[in-house]
Structure formats: C-alpha cells, structure tokens
C-alpha cells in the first residue's frame, strides 16, 4: 500500500517541478536573492520555511471554519509571525553566526508571498492532512531552488561548499588556483542570484515546453 494516495503525493511533488513557487509562480524571490551566497544559509533558510509552512498550514486549516473572512489576513499574519519568532529565537540560541548571516531575512519569512499565498489558496479551503502536505511540498519546492542557487553561488563565488574549500586554497595557490583560476566575485553579489534563477527557469522551460506562457 502506498503511503500517500496519488492525489496527495502530487501535493508534494508538483511544487518541486512543474508548479515550483520560485521558477513558475515567481514568488519568494527576495529571500532567494539575498541569502543564497552560501549553501549553509540556503539550507537553514529552507528548513525554517519548511517548518513555518508545514505548521502554519495545519493551524490555518484547523481554524478555517472559525476565522471570520474579513479579518483572515490578520489571523494569518499572527500565525506566521508566531512561528517565525520561534524559528528566529531557536537560531539565535543554537546557531548564532548563521542567524547573523540570515539577519532580517528570517523575520521577513513573515512577508514571504509563498506562505501567505498557500494559506489563502489552499489551507483556508482544505483539510488538515492535505494542507500539511501542501505546505511541506511548497516549502520543499522553494528550498530546492534555494539550494541549487546556493550551491552554484558558493562554489563559483568563494570556491567552497559549506565553508570547506573544494577547489584549493586561493592564497597558497593550490588546486585549481595554481593554474590561474580565480573566484568569480560577481557570484557573491545578489544580482548573480537573479541570473542563476533566470537560468534555472530557462532550463526548466526548455525541457518542458508546456510551461511556457502565451506571450
């Protein structure tokens, strides 16, 4: 017996590829540009968003029949703000350096359009289990792109992965650096993330032409 029915499995699998929040819906770009210079920060950010979205979607789904529709945005904000503060405090307590790197962008998860979008579009109208899967799926789709971008930006920009030098030592000139290779400073700055995301969108759409919008 499959763990998930086919319909439920699609809730997780769709956002990973053909309905990806970043590359198809083009949401959540702000944090994707800002914190992807390092792979570690991308992964922590992804985990934070998975946590916030999974629980947030469940909470909103539980409350969906008692929230008056006029004030639903305020309720959604309170739920997401509470969860984000929990994440922020945990990071400050157990990973202080990382929380410095992520700076305001953990707090800004509150305004991440993906989260509010899923609350509005899905959790308010679906059951708890399905909302949970949808939250996890969308957060994973967001995280996958963050990790791909973070991988290329850290590798090309700093020559490291998770802070570990993989291409040699740029100062002692070992490894690739001994033949004249140099780190690409462009990859460190946020505009590079825009271009990397753009290239991912390009690759994805040329592999699956059905995704190309009508001009």
């Amino acid at each position: 017996m499959a763990l998930l029915s086919k319909k439920d499995a699609n809730l997780i699998l769709d956002p990973l590829a053909d309905n990806n929040p970043i590359t198809i819906q083009v949401l959540g770009i702000c944090s994707a540009l800002a914190i992807t210079a390092e792979l570690k920060a991308s992964i922590v950010m992804s985990i934070s968003v998975i946590f916030v979205m999974g629980i947030g979607n469940v909470v909103i789904s539980l409350l969906r029949n008692v929230i008056p529709s006029k004030i639903r945005i305020i309720v959604q904000l309170i739920v997401v703000a509470t969860l984000v503060i929990v994440v922020d405090q945990v990071l400050k307590a157990y990973a202080y350096d990382l929380s410095k790197t992520l700076s305001v962008f953990v707090g800004l998860i509150i305004t991440n359009c993906i989260i509010m979008g899923r609350f509005e579009a899905f959790a308010l109208g679906n059951g708890v289990w399905r909302s949970f899967l949808d939250g996890i799926g969308n957060a994973l789709g967001y995280g996958v792109i963050l990790i791909i971008v973070g991988f290329f930006r850290e590798l090309l920009g700093s020559g490291t992965l998770f802070g570990i030098p993989v291409l040699g030592d740029p100062i002692a000139k070992t490894g690739l650096y001994s033949i004249g290779y140099e780190n690409n400073g462009f990859m460190i700055i946020p505009p590079a993330a825009l271009i990397v995301v753009g290239v991912i969108i390009w690759v994805q759409r040329s592999r699956n032409r059905a995704l190309i919008e009508e001009a």
Partner: protein, 421 residues
C-alpha cells in the same frame, strides 16, 4: 566552377539539415546569398547588415593598431623610462613595440572572436535559425575595452556569459536589451575586480613583475586624479599625449584623436547616429562643468576625495578614459539605443551626464561610461515610448482643434480642410 558556385551547390544539397545554418553562415559571410528576391518593385541597396558591421569594424581598425603600438610603448617606457623628447617615429611606431603589442593583443582578439562565434554557431544550429553578423562588431569591441593583461580564460568566460545572457536568451542579434560588449565588460568588472582596476593592469607585464625588483606600474590619468595626485599626473602627461593617446588605459580607448576620426567616418557613412554622439558630448561637458563650478565656488574642500576628479577641467573628461570610445562606438549601437530622433538626444545626453557623474563618485574605480551606457540601454525603450506618446498626443490635440469645412458650392463630396492650430 569557382568556390562561389561550389558553395551554392553544397548549400542546396544540405538544405534543411541540422548543420545547415552553420554552413550558411560561412557562405553568407563570404558571398552574397544565391537566393535574393526575384520579383516586385523592391528598392535594392547594398548596405545590408554585413556591410554595416564591416564599416564599424573598419572604423575600429585604427584604434586596434594604435592599441598594439601603445601596448609596446607603455611596456618599454615603464621599464626603460619615458623618452625625454618624444618622437613618434623613434619611440612609438617601432618594430619592438609592434611585436610586443601584437603578441599581447592579438590573442585577446582571437579568443573574443573564437568563443563568441562558437556560441553563436551552437545557438544557430540548436534553434535552426541563420547566424547573424551581429557578433562581428562585438568581437572586435571586446578586446579594445579590456586591460591588456586580462587572462584569456577570464575573457573567454566573460564572452560566453555576455553572448548567452546578454544576447541569445533574448533571441539573438537585434533582440538584445543590453549591449553585449558592455555586458562582457561589466561581467569582468564585477567578477574579477583585481584584474580590472588599480595601477598594475594597464601596462603589459606589470602584474607578473609586482613585488619583484623589476616592478613596474602605470596608473591611468583618472586613477591619478581619483587619488588626488593631480600635480604628478600633469608632470607625467601633457595635453597632447592625452589627446593623441600615449597614455595607459584599456587597449583601444586611449587615443581620442583616432576615435574622433572613427566617429566622423561613422557619421559620414551614416552608420552611427550623430545625434547621440553630439548630445553625449554635451551631456558630459555639462556634468563636468557643474563639478567645476562646485569647485570654483569653494563648496568642496581640497581634502575631499572627490576634489581631484571634480577640479579636472570639464572638457578634458572627453580625452581621457573610455568616455570618447563609449560615446562613439557603444552608445550609438542601433539595437540597444533609442530609435526616435528626440529620444536619441535625451538618451545621448544622459549617457554623457551620468558617465562623468559615475566617474567622479564611483569609490572603487574612477570610470563609469560602461555603467552609464548599460543603464541608458535599459531606459531607451521607455524614452522612446514617451516620445511616441508625446507625438500622438500632439496630433490628437491638433485634430481636436481642427475646423472642418464642408465644400457645398457645387454639391461635390465634402472636402475636409484641417487647420493646424
């Protein structure tokens, strides 16, 4: 049967095959296509894309040759000392200078063309369209706007980036928003800043010799000014050296004199827009003049880090750095620039204005013409949009105020007489 007929035959034989665009490109590059329009009242002119591009390349050749000699001259002068009484034939146009310059500059040209054309061919084959001649000019511009000692692999990476991200993703020649040559330059600047600025990169050999007893260096004029060493700069270079280009700088940008000749040639052949060139010159003079006024009024103290560049006489901005080269060869790019005549004035003026502004205020690097042109490339369609809208509104207003007089004398069809208000 000559080569031309042979190629026509091969073309027919392989029509519709995968590699056909690649072959057709070589064919079109060498000869006129065998298939042209057969009927109808077409106006036939010879100034096709190929000729347009070749005219620009022709205008660039003097800059390239000068750059080759100047590379040698700067290198040997940095080692042996600058000649006391400079004479062109004794110190500049010499065999030694030419050989050194050629073995330094020509690899840049070869890498630029090789990588760029390879990518163009790959895209043409994948997408099944014809190769356009657009890269011919870009490939020539790129080696002229980089420092002489730029490592070749960096240039190759930058060219690949510029051609793919700057041009091919938008649909190839004629569809690009940004000037590909400047995209390449901007990529190099942000990716490898240590190779693009400072006093070591403008003279061949300076980077390798750094830190040894034979160390040499060559600061650009703007570099001297940005550090406030105005007196030293004037002690080393005089006005005619700046104008004729016997100064350190990117390969082809130093000689304002040859760029001026190239610009006149492009205006005379009607390839480049004189409106953009003139308004860009006016714009840069205006900004330089404003800075001079600020200095004259004493609003900026002498210890300010902007003082050196701000007090530089406004018209001299045109003969140092890359401003002249950018105005003549880059700002006038017909694809990325404004299309309307009024738009060209605004576009050019802002390029000149912003170039000098960025040049003075850029803390990391005293030059800004490539950033200014890229910025205005982005705004060019907006400028055109408002120019066109303005014209439409003017004509609508004229129509509204027009009086229409029906001619009823002999009962013929009513004649409309619009009167311009």
């Amino acid at each position: 049967m000559g080569l031309k007929e042979k190629m026509h035959e091969i073309k027919l034989k392989y029509q519709g095959k995968k590699m056909a665009p690649a072959f057709n490109a070589i064919h079109t590059f060498l000869y006129t296509p065998n298939e042209t329009t057969h009927s109808g009242g077409h106006v036939r002119a010879v100034d096709d894309l190929k000729r347009t591009m070749n005219t620009v390349i022709l205008a660039l050749v003097p800059c390239l040759l000068f750059g080759i000699f100047n590379t040698g001259y700067q290198h040997y002068s940095a080692i042996n000392g600058f000649p006391e009484s400079f004479s062109i034939w004794e110190h500049f146009i010499t065999w030694d200078n030419f050989v050194l310059g050629a073995i330094t500059v020509l690899p840049l040209v070869i890498v630029s063309y090789g990588v760029g054309l390879l990518i163009e061919f790959i895209f043409a084959v994948i997408k099944g369209h014809e190769v356009e001649e657009g890269y011919l000019v870009t490939g020539m511009l790129v080696p002229l706007i980089v420092p002489v000692d730029t490592p070749l692999w960096m240039l190759a990476v930058a060219v690949a980036f510029g051609v793919v991200i700057g041009k091919e993703v938008f649909g190839g020649t004629g569809m690009n928003i940004l000037n590909p040559a400047l995209t390449i330059r901007a990529f190099l600047f942000f990716a490898y800043p240590t190779w693009m600025s400072g006093d070591k990169v403008w003279v061949h050999g300076a980077v390798e010799r750094a830190g040894t007893a034979d160390a040499i260096s060559g600061e650009t004029i703007l570099g001297y000014l940005a550090q406030g060493n105005t007196q030293e700069m004037y002690a080393k270079y005089d006005l005619s050296e700046m104008f004729f280009g016997f100064i350190p700088g990117s390969v082809g940008e130093t000689s304002a004199f040859l760029i001026l000749l190239g610009g006149l040639f492009l205006i005379f052949t009607k390839i480049a827009s004189w409106r953009i060139m003139v308004s860009a010159v006016v714009g840069s003079l205006a900004m330089g003049w404003i800075f001079n006024l600020i200095v004259d009024f004493g609003w900026i103290p002498e210890y300010s880090k902007f003082y050196g560049l701000m007090s530089f006489e406004f018209w001299k901005h045109l003969i140092v750095g890359g401003l002249a080269f950018g105005i003549v060869y880059m700002a006038t790019d017909p694809v990325t620039g404004s299309q309307t005549n009024k738009g060209k004035w605004i576009y050019g003026f802002l390029i000149g204005f912003l170039s000098v502004m960025i040049r003075v205020f850029n803390p990391g690097y005293p030059e800004g013409v490539f950033l200014a042109i890229l910025l205005m490339n982005v705004f060019a369609p907006t400028i055109d949009h408002y120019v066109v809208r303005g014209n439409v509104n003017k004509r609508l207003k004229r129509l509204k105020n027009a009086t229409i007089l029906p001619d009823t004398v002999d009962g013929a069809a009513a004649e409309l007489k619009a009167e311009t208000v």
